[in-house]
Amino acid sequence: MVEPIIKIRDLHTQYGDKKVLKGINLDIYPYETFVILGRSGCGKSTLLRHLIGLQKPTQGYIYIKDNNFVTASEKEKNDILKNIGMLFQSSALFNSMTVGDNVALPLREHTPQPDSTIKIMTRMKLGLVGLSGFENFMPAELSGGMKKRAALARALAMDPEILFCDEPSAGLDPIVAVGIDNLILKLKKAFKMTIVVVTHELESVFVIADRIALLHEGEFIFVGTKDEMRRSEVPVVRQFLQRAPDEDDMDKDKFLNSLIGG
């Protein structure tokens, strides 16, 4: 039996009185592409922020390669983070630096390599995502899809074991979005990497995923493979797959009362 690379145990988070995550348990195994699917506001962004250490959960644990991420000290946390790449939804490239410097930054800060080596490594990473020759461009000069690619190159700079992607194809036109999906597939084959993708876009889910989890109101209501998902009888899963809207269950009296503030 393979040990999971990421273990989430009984994870709770609440903002004030609002419970966002209600006791999540999840195992993610090495070298799989795991997609966390969910509607807007279901808590998937919060979960991702816990997984990359930007926010502490109210309760519960996250183990990444057997290191407890929640209770880790600053130094232990940084050691874990060096093994993690993160692709942000907004790309989050440093706008004051060239694309090349963006990719080179983690290498410059965390490796003792001389600058000439780092330059070559930077070019290699940019070549990998199809951006050869763009190292002297500023992020503002790139299109949305190219920014995503550059951000992906930066996330891969340290050859991470785990890559997290937040909505990789959000805000891109369908053709560019498919390009990003294919790129993720290509990278998965090229590197031995565990990829965790958070998204709500069904098209890309069925292209890239090995396993899928559906987060609904702070709980996983489905975890399984693509085929299992297609066959699933869980109502919310069916609703998601059929892209059915919520039923409007507000009755007339309630609506009237809400209008007059009663």
């Binding site: 250490g53 600053e74 940084n78 907004s90 989050a92 440093f94």
Partner: protein, 264 residues
């Protein structure tokens, strides 16, 4: 009545929270600057130099012009009073001492708070809105070490330098007025100024500017980090950084002047 008290109480609580957070941020940044380097953490000098150019070199002209004008102004005000007693030569003392002890550091700090403190707040605020700060953290880079320390260090180095410049140019301003308008002899004014300014006047000014530098950089950084929302939030924080750092500069100046007045 109850509401007024409630509001005042709330305001006080918010103020205390802000103060506690700024202090905690300052303690951490100063730890990174003065203690961490002795424990094997590198200071990022390349980033610091970039900031020194932005904060320091690029504001030489504006600081120079303003302090020249201020020198002229004090000289005129002093001459207006002193001429009546036939004591015009003491314009040199007044300009020299008030520039080095008080106005050099204060004017420089206010100009830099408006120019560079706001820039720090806007830059860090924009980075926060664009998830760049989050990106830094996920790359295992501490935003304090990477963003605030270089700016604070640059400010601590550059502000006293600019203050020395402002002192000199301000005194020159007074000098120009004395020679051209009051017809005082060049050498007499020079000697009078040299006698009037003591070393301690100069040093107290520099001590002030060291603390002003910390105030400007920390308030700018704090306001930048506390940006919420989008462009509007950045605008609000930038304004707040200028207002609160000028307030704190003047308040700190008052404390230091009281201290130096009673002891030195």
């Amino acid at each position: 009545m109850k509401k007024t008290f409630e509001k005042a109480g709330q305001g006080f609580v918010e103020f205390t929270v802000h103060l506690a957070r700024i202090s905690s941020l300052s303690v951490r940044s100063l730890f990174w600057i003065f203690i961490a380097p002795f424990r094997g953490k590198k200071l990022r000098w390349h980033l610091t130099f970039v900031q020194m150019v932005r904060i320091g070199v690029n504001s030489v002209l504006i600081v120079g012009i303003i302090s020249f004008c201020v020198g002229l102004i004090i000289a005129m005000q002093a001459a207006y009073q002193l001429e009546r007693f036939g004591a015009s030569i003491y314009v040199a003392d007044l300009v020299g001492v008030s520039m080095t002890r008080e106005l050099g550091p204060l004017i420089t700090a206010i100009v830099i708070a408006g120019r560079s403190g706001s820039a720090i707040a806007a830059e860090i605020g924009t980075m926060k809105v664009a998830e760049e700060i989050d990106a830094l953290e996920t790359m295992a880079l501490n935003p304090i070490g990477y963003l605030i320390v270089p700016r604070t260090l640059a400010m601590i180095i550059v502000l006293p330098c600019l203050t020395v410049l402002a002192d000199l140019i301000g005194i020159t301003g007074g000098f120009v007025l004395a020679v051209v308008n009051l017809k005082l002899p060049f050498i007499a004014y020079f000697n009078q100024t040299a006698d009037a300014i003591l070393f301690k006047d100069f040093i107290t000014g520099l001590i002030k500017s060291f603390f002003f530098a910390i105030i400007i950089a920390q308030i700018g950084a704090y306001q930048g980090f506390s940006v919420t929302g989008g462009a509007e939030g950045v605008g609000k924080s930038t304004t707040a950084s200028v207002v609160s750092s000028i307030f704190l500069i003047i308040f700190a100046d008052l404390l230091f002047t009281m201290l130096f007045y009673s002891t030195l």
